[in-house]
Symmetry: C2
Subunit: 374 residues, 2 copies
């Protein structure tokens, strides 16, 4: 009996794991390039908040103790920051963990889970892992078509995932459309609004008039779950902290199935500190706004189409050879993200970096495109 | 629709979460006691290894980047340390994560999962979460009865959990009995040997003649999975790193369902460094050996029975009022672990601490027992 696939659960049998962005060290090992620019994983180019680093330093000697499984300090800080109760919060090992907990709590092999074409890659993976049926609603101009998603809901739909803004397209749905959607979804269907890029999209400087404030709606729509993360604007991707805000009854269920120590001790401390560092957050949003402008102007100058983005990344149409171009960029020491797995073979997704990183990418792109078309 | 339990999956509906040991800060908040001794979570009383702390310091500035999802550096270090290949290793957010991945990979609502009476509390919780059927084999003198476990295996058994040594009893099975068990289990049944306390039990000074070296058996028994952790002897409970070693085919499946960034960046670095700190490990084992002796002598002097332990904890029979005694010890500023949830209402589980901590506990125990029986 060495054919283990045969004895695995049906969901796992045909499961293909998530493909992360290439780590800097990996490219350095493979190609011997010292100066690598990574714009591949929607990370915060500023590095971590100084307050978060200080909090980690203060907790170092306590790492032989288990973390506080209830996340008392972080939940208290989040509740005050968001204007919700601690009992509404579920902490996760990144928001990925929270999304998986939600799926495992409300869906099984008899369930349908609805999400949009081009939606975040973890939704189909999480759905497959529990052997539920993925129902993909067609997109409209790369973005979520909420009417199509509403039409996709059936008697067996347990869960809807909406990424707002969506990764990798950067598209977002506005307040009016999302409210209309929630008003028309049956109350026994859980709607997850995944706001991993919330802080970028909600900033007035982004001029995204109409980006919804979903936390305000939790009372009106008890089947709504909002998820957010410390991995993007808060700059703590390496530490894995995300959270869900929901009705207390939903949070109770999610916390039952949550691993008792899913968020690590240093991560809990760092996240609470990062939350208090509003100066860092403003700097992160400003850097992103300027970098996004820089990239878009660069694409415009090169005559390339891109999808307008509400996140800290932008997907650009580079023609039919995006996979080749990705490889050519690696050889220039620049890591970006191919999105062929999203059925977007003409696009590359570029995370917004520091000014010099964006510049190095734009130059490398011009170089490899000239070489490819020579 | 505010009755969310109704729309949850059957497993989650009746799921009761794991109850962690009381955190020191929680007792300080509740009772205003400054000097708390916690001997409740089988943590390493030495604090973390200095090499692990140094590794964390060196990686601090990288925490805005996602962790290496493949855990390249840690897997390489583990493979060399254990004499296995990197492809045989699955990393987890603590070994709890690995145990859950194994259950979700091989069992679903149609499966039976076999474990022993008094076995580690996460096995029934993990089983319930996926709505599988828990089959509990009766124990023999608190320990796993492998013959009874063998007899409990049916056509629908997918998985067997063996904790060796077991928490909270400290009992362990020897090489001969475990080999006999593996020889007689059908090859399509996955056998997990959970060796969270391996480093304590395998040390010659513990004189545990016959504690098995299960990694040697992986080739012979391809259905065997061995799990270990950095939370106990390696002193990194707060960082959440565990791992499974198995046939490559099993590791491939586990890594498909694993969350892509389940182990955080600082944890990966700290674990690799701790693995190289053999001086720390020897000190941890020595401290445990002496502390276990101190506790056992203390119990003997008080006329209390205890279960001989191969781990870094010992369960002592304090009579019918263990829950009251636990509360009374809290008021003395000493946190231990009640094990009523294991159906062991007469026992308290004491983690081995530093000499002064053990002494403070023994004195507090004498005080509260005298008061209770006055």
């Amino acid at each position: 009996m060495n054919n283990f696939v045969e004895i695995a659960t049906p969901g796992v049998r045909s499961l293909k794991p998530y493909q992360p962005g290439k780590p800097i060290e990996e490219l350095q090992r493979e190609l011997g390039i010292a100066e690598v620019v990574k714009l591949a994983s929607n990370e915060n180019p500023l590095g971590p908040s100084p307050l978060a680093l200080k909090a980690i330093q203060q907790q170092l000697l306590d790492t032989a103790r288990y973390p506080d499984g209830n996340g008392f300090v972080l939940k208290k800080a989040l509740a005050a920051h968001l204007g919700v109760s601690e009992a509404q919060i579920t902490l996760g090992n990144g928001s990925n963990d929270v999304l998986e907990l939600i799926a495992r709590t409300f869906a099984d092999q008899d369930a349908e889970i609805v999400f949009s074409q081009y939606a975040f890659a973890m939704y189909p993976i999480i759905t497959q892992a529990i052997n539920a049926k993925a129902v993909k609603a067609p997109a409209r101009q790369w973005g979520h078509d909420l009417d199509a998603m509403l039409a996709a809901i059936t008697e067996t739909t347990k869960l809807v995932f909406i990424a707002n803004p969506n990764n990798p397209t950067g598209t977002w749905v506005n307040e009016q459309n999302l409210r209309h959607f929630l008003e028309n979804v049956p109350r026994k269907v859980i709607v997850v609004v995944d706001e991993a890029y919330f802080e970028y999209a909600s900033d007035p400087s982004m001029q995204l008039a109409g980006y919804p404030d979903t936390l305000d709606w939790l009372q009106r729509f008890p089947n709504l779950i909002v998820t957010r993360t410390f991995s993007k604007a808060y700059g703590l991707a390496g530490l894995r902290v995300g959270y869900a805000v929901s009705h207390e009854g939903i949070a109770d269920l999610l916390n039952r199935i949550r691993q008792p120590f899913n968020v690590n001790h240093l991560a809990l401390a760092a996240a609470a500190a990062a939350l208090s560092d509003s100066e860092y957050l403003q700097q992160a949003i400003k850097t992103n706004y300027e970098g996004l402008k820089q990239l878009q102007e660069g694409f415009h100058a090169m005559g390339l189409d891109y999808i307008p983005s509400g996140g800290n990344f932008v997907s650009v149409d580079v023609g039919e050879d995006a996979a080749d171009l990705y490889q050519a960029l690696l050889r220039e020491g620049v890591i970006v993200r191919p999105v062929g797995n999203y059925n977007m073979p003409h696009h590359l997704r570029i995370s917004v970096g520091l000014e010099l990183e964006n510049e190095r990418f734009l130059k490398a792109l011009a170089t490899v495109m000239a070489a490819c078309h020579a």
